[in-house]
Amino acid sequence: MTVTEPARVEAAVVSEPPAQRDRRRRNPTLSRPGVPESVLKVVVLGFAVLAVVVPFLGILSTSLSSKEHLDAKGGFVLWPDAVSLDAYRTVLSGGVVSKALLVSVGVTLIGTVLSLLVTAMLAYGLSRPGSFGSRPALLIVLFSLLFSPGLLPVYLTVRGFGLIDTYAALILPGLVGGFNVIVLRSFFVSIPAELLESARIDGAGEWQIFTRIVTPLSKAVLAVIGLFYGVGYWNAFFNALIYLNDQGRWPLPLVLRTYVINNTQISAGDLAASGAGALPAQPALQMAMLLIAVVPILIVYPFLQRHFTKGVITGAVKG
């Protein structure tokens, strides 16, 4: 079997839906939904939305509540009795959680920048038709999508490179996603060649064309792919679990597993806390940690959501 062209994958990306606003102008000949259908719709969609919103509300409320309130209610509450930021102050005052947060932020920032850069360069290098070596290189990318090497061989490779217990082990194995390369390449290919040709005539080199013309035109796609890489690094759990034996280097998801999922009590010692004074209630601390893990995503989400559909429809297939 030979893969000739990533035909379908590209087609899916390129065929962007028309602007939402245009298509929502309903045809007047269409019948409006009947009562049973409307009720069913409200119930199902209402339930789906609440199923997402309520847990977040609970996490926030619990993290803000006082110890007495939580004790009385049995641990997890949907509405706080007070607004106390003590849990956040305690968790962030130093110790394991602060350290893990630092690791996660660092790995996410460095990893995302590196991944985007390397992916975009590779995609651009493959996007100029007839360039030297682009054909076999494209095949290398495409075939990587068909076969997955498997957990153990990758582990042995990472170990062979001497990356065990290094932060690089959290970044390098997933540095380039073949799928993202294909998505970006197809976007780059769709940039009119005349544009690049005229820059070339004006004396721009390939690198200048890439940084001054191609990447600014691709901001939306780069943003979404950056989000996918970023979320991947931020949520990375498994790589850290197998590659980092040294628990002092663990990123946030592993610390969350220890203190939230396995319900290990977090003590003043773990936090190198602000010395005297009782810790806030365990549930409040746990939910504060959980929220800290979610907040960065909530912050970038509104800026990126409008690009989701437009940019990377294909990404959804993989992700």
Partner: protein, 312 residues
């Protein structure tokens, strides 16, 4: 894809290499990463045919041929259990997880208010971006022994429900977690496909007297056919991957009898148990089956006149 490329004059390979050296250099870091962490590990699968000893390395370890595979196919109970759980989970997820986003997308698509649509979509996309650690923690807080549901039941004198940590309910728990996390996000593709339906088809069918249900069957669903088949193929290729992180996080609570799948078997026996050869053999068999499934499903899609994932 239509690209308006001006064909450059044909040159010798030396000239082309000189001309494209910057482009070529740009691809190198990415290719090195792919080769180093994707293709090189593929070669590492040879340890499935060795009695691999870490201190001897791949080259010096002794070749044992298919011995490691024999252990598997002789019916090691733990392995059989892992295969059984994997297949059950795959089946359950295809039946319950796969249709969920289609139903959601149809409902969202039929919302008349633009604002409502956008709110619903953005709320439902969100869980996709949470890590499994967060999702599992949320489910514990809501459904666990000391979670919201049971606290509520206790305070009202009702019997508590043992949901999290109950081996009998483990598959239902995993499935509902997957639905919660990803069915909203998965609507994105179906909604995109729905947005491309020619509205005049609805008009024409309405004039012909089609009811809303008939429009659904005759206009809307055929429009989704291509996407549904594409996703089913990809799902099939992925079918032996059933929530590795998700399961590892919750395995301790329910025991391996109910929760061991092929991936966790490889992890538990290979990396934790240092039975490298056997685990690599399992991983290799799994990889081969997955590839065969994708290629086969793609062929099948062509037989039915669909494009599938790629054209060979």
């Amino acid at each position: 894809m239509a690209s308006t490329v001006v064909q450059r004059p044909r040159q010798g390979w030396r000239a082309r290499l000189r001309r494209d050296r910057v482009l070529l250099a740009m691809t190198i870091p990415g290719l090195v990463a792919l080769v180093g962490f994707h293709y090189l590990p593929l070669l590492g699968n040879v340890i499935a045919f060795e009695d691999y000893q870490p201190f001897l390395g791949i080259i010096n370890s002794q070749w044992v041929g298919f011995e490691k595979f024999a252990i598997l196919f002789n019916g090691d109970p733990a392995f059989v259990n892992a295969v059984k759980n994997t297949l059950i989970l795959t089946l359950v997820q295809v039946i319950f997880v796969f249709p969920a986003p289609i139903v959601l997308a149809l409902m969202i698509n039929s919302l008349l208010s633009d604002r409502m649509r956008r709110i619903v979509q953005n709320v439902l996309y969100l869980p996709h971006f949470l890590s499994w650690v967060v999702v599992v923690a949320i489910f514990q807080q809501l459904l666990g022994g000391s979670g919201l549901l049971n606290t509520f039941l206790r305070s009202h004198g009702a019997a508590t429900l043992d949901i999290v940590g109950n081996p009998d309910l483990f598959i239902s728990l995993l499935t509902s977690q997957v639905v919660w996390k990803d069915s909203g996000w998965a609507t994105i593709l179906f909604l995109a496909a729905l947005s491309q339906v020619d509205q005049s088809l609805y008009e024409a069918s309405a004039i012909d007297g089609a009811s809303r249900a008939q429009q659904l069957v005759n206009v809307t669903l055929p429009a989704l056919r291509g996407v549904i088949i594409l996703l089913l193929i990809l799902r099939l290729g992925d079918s032996l991957n059933v929530g590795f992180e998700q399961i590892i996080l919750q395995q301790k609570a329910v025991g391996s009898e109910a929760s061991e799948v092929i991936d966790t078997y490889v992890f538990n026996y290979g990396i934790l148990g240092s039975d490298w050869g056997t685990s690599a053999a399992v991983g290799l068999v799994k990889g081969v089956i997955a590839t065969v499934l994708v290629v086969g499903a793609n062929k099948l899609a062509h037989v039915f006149g669909e494009d599938g994932v790629y054209r060979a």
